[in-house]
Symmetry: C2
Subunit: 187 residues, 2 copies
């Protein structure tokens, strides 16, 4: 499975492609950061990010896009730009026929370091180690994009099993309701 | 000037086209609400809104898109979806070569009712009146989209004058600095 991880942002948007097998082995295919000038109009900045993501989809042919799920916690102004970028990335992926998976920052940290409250440096260190990179990816947005992609490689089988279990549970419940209704009619 | 106002939202996205002259006269060209099912994937819902906005741009040929500026105040989950939609709308507009203007809810309310703290019903009542509509546009998202478009018609000349004044002020400052530097060299 090939995953394009996107750490959304208007000023810096991290992009990282990771290839994963069934197990824990993962390797990095590409990583970069797209920058757009703060002085430019938002529509132009969003278009620059959309162009870059479309270019990466065409070049690296990922099977899925993993995007950080944005929360409004800290700087509200920044968060809104980040959410706008995440929407644009999801749109571009959807139009390219690719599934989009959102992971929260704590899910990413927990998947990569074992702790949902790990710091940026720890995430970068673990990404460098699990992907056997010669040097730590910089800036942090690049490392975060790779961490998102690794997180998706490792969480995807579990998420797929959960989705399957939900479908099965819904079927069991449906059969159960049908049998109850039949029993009521027979009475 | 023909303005497409967009009240962004994933579940309901208001679209309203208003034609304005130089003065206060404005008239409604079209209004509707795009709905996307909450059960669907976010990427598909964003694509549905993007398709609708592209369709409206092609059909109604607006000169500018006015979008509500989103703030993280109330429901954080809803606000993130709203911000994602606003990003997608800005992207679609930018790619269609149209300028995008963001107006805050209070700017819209103040433009249309005279008070930045007016309620939804008051905004709907004023939109119905200034656009001489036979009935109040429903739901509120439809009225809000028209209010955004009206707000842009009325604020645009003032915003243009402010932008011009800024350019002039920057030029004056530049000349002033150049003369100061010349005077220093002459000393």
């Amino acid at each position: 499975m090939r995953v394009l991880g996107v750490d959304p942002g208007l000023t810096r948007c991290g992009l990282g492609v990771v290839e994963g097998g069934g197990g824990r082995a993962v390797h990095a295919v590409a990583v970069d950061v797209v920058r757009t000038p703060p002085g430019e109009a938002v529509a132009q900045r969003l278009a620059a990010v959309a162009d870059a993501v479309e270019g990466w989809i065409a070049e690296h042919r990922p099977d899925v896009i993993a995007v950080e799920r944005v929360f409004a916690q800290h700087n509200v102004r920044t968060v809104m730009g980040t959410a706008q970028v995440s929407g644009v990335v999801a749109l571009v992926a959807g139009r390219a026929g690719l599934p989009v998976a959102f992971h929260t920052p704590s899910e990413v940290k927990a998947a990569v370091t074992g702790s949902g409250r790990a710091g940026k440096e720890q995430v970068t260190a673990m990404v460098t180690r699990v992907l056997s990179l010669g040097a730590a990816p910089r800036p942090a947005d690049a490392a975060d994009a790779l961490a998102l992609a690794v997180c998706h490689c490792w969480r995807a089988p579990m998420l797929a099993r959960m989705a399957e279990a939900e479908v099965r549970a819904a079927e069991v419940a449906k059969h159960h309701r049908a049998r109850l209704a039949a029993a009521r009619r027979a009475r």
